[in-house]
């Protein structure tokens, strides 16, 4: 106990962050949560009336909400899964020393540095059936006979969105994991090497367990961002075809800003956030069980 900080010190360190977050983010979220128990919409002249759980009950009977939840789950699991694998690979590659490493790191970051809304538009054109560069490349390679409308079918539209998201956000994962890799003291690696560990043993037994916290950070925020995906479906597919790529955020946004159905939009966002938290907890639980099993 002698070496732990006094709780007063700790509080003083936490305070500024808590204040900023509280005023700018937590209070608005609190208002949203309260709003989800009210009926505030055009029919009530935008005035609010307490409605208890009515908005939440309506949500549970809304096929569109369940559809968007399913789409969001598929999108999040698909894109985050691939991003974690690719991101860790990228980080391991970038952690080695090779000529021009600095440039390689900057280049890998480029996709992430581009504004999503504009790149979503660009990806939309890449996947276009008539002018899309993807169809052209695949046709030239002899893999494709005749153009494919990638965004025109539910399955391929979702896949296209996942590809665009993986391209865009893998650098985020790579960067976070890279920081974890660089935090590993050199002495640890040297000791393992002296003990005769092969490179693959080094990677699996020493490095990966040590970067687990960094991976967890990346995973947590990728799940959050994936669940909140908005720009990408909004610009690339508009939620189509047939609502097959509408995400929870997109639906919440539409209820809120388009339909001016504030209570309902707030309920959508609140329950969506709850589901995301559940998903994250499930992933944590599964990963800890997997670790125990090993």
């Amino acid at each position: 106990m002698r070496f732990t900080q006094s709780s007063r010190e700790r509080l003083a360190l936490l305070m500024p962050a808590a204040l900023l977050l509280g005023v700018v983010v937590v209070i608005p979220i609190g208002r949203l949560v309260l709003l989800s128990f009210e009926r505030t919409e055009l029919n009530t002249g935008l005035g609010s009336r307490f409605a208890g759980l009515a908005m939440h009950a309506r949500l549970w009977q809304d096929g569109r909400w369940w559809g968007s939840l399913g789409n969001t789950l598929v999108f999040t699991l698909g894109s985050v899964g691939i991003e974690m694998l690719l991101g860790v690979t990228f980080a391991v590659l970038l952690d080695q020393s090779f000529p021009g490493r600095r440039w390689a790191r900057a280049i890998v970051l480029v996709p992430w540095a581009l504004p999503t809304a504009v790149m979503a538009l660009a990806w939309g054109w890449i996947f276009n059936d008539s002018f899309g560069v993807l169809n052209d490349l695949l046709t030239r390679a002899g893999l494709l006979h005749g153009p494919v409308a990638w965004l025109g079918r539910p399955g391929t539209a979702m896949a296209a969105m996942v590809v665009a998201d993986v391209w865009k956000t893998t650098p985020f994962v790579a960067l976070v994991v890279l920081a974890g890799l660089q935090g590993i003291p050199r002495s640890t690696l040297d000791a393992a090497r002296i003990d005769g560990a092969t490179p693959s043993q080094l990677l699996w037994r020493v490095v990966l367990p040590l970067i687990r916290p960094a991976c967890l950070v990346a995973l947590a925020f990728r799940v959050a961002q994936g669940f909140g995906a908005f720009d990408l479906p909004y610009v690339m597919t508009g939620g189509g075809p047939g609502g097959s790529t509408e995400t929870v955020s997109l639906y919440a946004y539409r209820s809120f800003y388009r339909y001016l159905d504030f209570g309902y939009g707030a309920a959508t966002a609140v329950e969506g956030a709850g589901m995301a938290l559940l998903l994250f907890a499930a992933i944590l639980w599964l990963s800890s069980r997997a670790r125990e099993a090993v």
């Binding site: 055009l42 002249g45 935008l46 569109r64 080695q96 020393s97 276009n128 059936d129 008539s130 002018f131 005749g146 153009p147 409308a149 990638w150 965004l151 025109g152 079918r153 539910p154 660089q182 050199r186 597919t237 508009g238 939620g239 189509g240 075809p241 047939g242 609502g243 097959s244 539409r254 800003y257 388009r258 339909y259 001016l260 159905d261």
Partner: protein
């Protein structure tokens, strides 16, 4: 393996530098955000690309109204983004924007929310009569006028005149003629018969409405709240779209992902015989470097035999914010915009279709844009989308089910039955009788 230590000197130097820069730069912003305390300022947000054409209007206003001026706030290009900005501002009861430059579909929602002032008293009957009746009517909600149209848009059918002439075929009038003609003249995938906007978005609704009316059907009657989507006419209109997309059809499978630009590019590259789009295509397709320059024509949209073709009405107008501090001055600005001169400033160089009737006979505008003659005629059969407060919801329902039917997720009748049912639920009980 890792780089060698470089010391900590740099980082501290960087920090000092950053702070120095920070202090120096602050003043610039402070100056920029200092308020102008003076005259009445009328603010309206317009898309960035339109601002140059609004400038002469603002200058005229400043000349005729000493002590007042207009600030043209530059908004995003995307309609949705600008709607969000206006929504955020109006919800906060914020007097920043005196005038709302609004799309035709916003009227009912904004009016129902209480964000707009009724304009009936501010504008005389004569002033209203100088505008296209159909465009003016789209600005009414529950018997009152909330939006003065400034410019209009109508859906039209573009065709390749050269191809039709070479094959000695007339321009199609009915849906079957369009199908047969397109089928004969196409050679996919290098040239498709008919391209249109099939992505799940507002444009799909516009495309469908034209066919729906051409089949004698309707979507929502704004007065009785009656929904016509599960009637045979609605099924015939959607079946035509599905038929176009079929393997032996006339539209590329990718049409279900197209918005205006994708379809325009195909047509302009000479890769489509027919195109359903808005008037903006004309000036681009007739530009100097366009492969189809002087080889195109415009006709009304196709329909079923014995009926007539309809054009979905689009366009922009001005509403007066409930929170404006200068309603009188703002109304004066609107008057300048809809004056013949204002319409010239706004439409001559942009190719927009004016909202003032007289403008379609104005030699100056016609010289700048001969195409206006045809657009003017189309307004007789322009089709307004229903002015219901929950328009966005109804439109989204229709978009989803149309898109699902076009991409094989639902059958034509199943999609329309579901859409009709959901729309009824959104609109609430029918208003009995008329």
């Amino acid at each position: 393996m890792r780089t060698s230590p470089a010391g900590n000197g740099h980082s501290f130097g960087n920090l000092v530098l950053a702070i120095a820069l920070a202090v120096a730069g602050w003043n610039r912003f402070a100056a920029a955000s200092r308020r102008h305390a003076e005259t009445a300022v009328i603010r309206v947000m317009v898309p960035a690309s339109e601002r140059p054409f609004w400038r002469p209007i603002a200058e005229r206003f400043a000349r005729t109204h000493p002590g007042a001026r207009v600030e043209l706030v530059e908004g995003a290009e995307s309609t949705d983004l600008r709607e969000d900005l206006y929504t955020a501002s109006l919800l906060a009861r914020d007097p920043t924007f005196d005038l709302v430059y609004m799309d035709v579909t916003w009227t009912a929602k904004f009016a129902a929310a209480g964000w707009l002032r009724p304009l009936d008293r501010l504008f005389t009957a004569a002033e209203c009569e100088s505008l296209l009746p159909v465009a003016l009517a789209a600005g009414r909600y529950s018997g009152r006028l909330y939006r003065i149209p400034v410019r209009t848009d109508v859906g039209v059918l573009y065709c390749r005149r050269d191809l039709l002439e070479a094959a000695r075929l007339p321009a199609p009038q009915t849906m079957d003629q369009l199908f047969a003609t397109a089928k004969r003249l196409q050679s996919p995938p290098s040239r498709w018969g008919f391209v249109w906007q099939g992505k799940q978005y507002e444009g799909l609704v516009c495309n469908y409405l034209e066919l729906l009316s051409g089949c004698g059907g309707f979507w929502v009657d704004p007065e009785t709240q009656e929904v016509g989507l599960d009637r045979p006419e609605a099924r015939r209109a959607l079946s035509f779209m599905v038929r176009c997309l079929a393997a032996d059809g006339i539209s590329p499978p990718g049409a279900t992902t197209y918005q205006e630009e994708e379809s325009r590019r195909l047509f302009q590259d000479g890769r489509a015989v027919f195109l359903r789009n808005w008037p903006y295509v004309w000036s681009l397709a007739q530009a100097g470097d366009s492969p189809v320059r002087d080889r195109i024509d415009v006709v009304p949209m196709v329909h079923e035999p014995g009926r007539r073709g309809w054009s979905t009405l689009g366009g922009w107008g001005l509403g007066l914010s409930s929170y404006s501090r200068h309603p009188g001055l703002a109304a004066d600005l609107v008057r300048i915009v809809i004056s013949l001169e204002g319409q010239r400033w706004l439409c001559a160089r942009t190719g927009f279709a004016p909202a003032r009737r007289e403008a379609y006979r104005d030699p100056e505008l016609l010289a700048a844009n001969p195409f206006l003659v045809r657009i003017g005629a189309l307004h007789q059969h322009a089709l307004a989308r229903p002015t219901i407060p929950r328009y966005d919801m109804a439109s989204d329902i229709l978009q989803r089910h149309l898109s699902a039917a076009l991409t094989g997720g639902e059958t034509v009748s199943g999609a329309l039955a579901a859409a009709a049912q959901e729309t009824r639920r959104v609109l609430g009980p029918r208003v009995p009788g008329r």
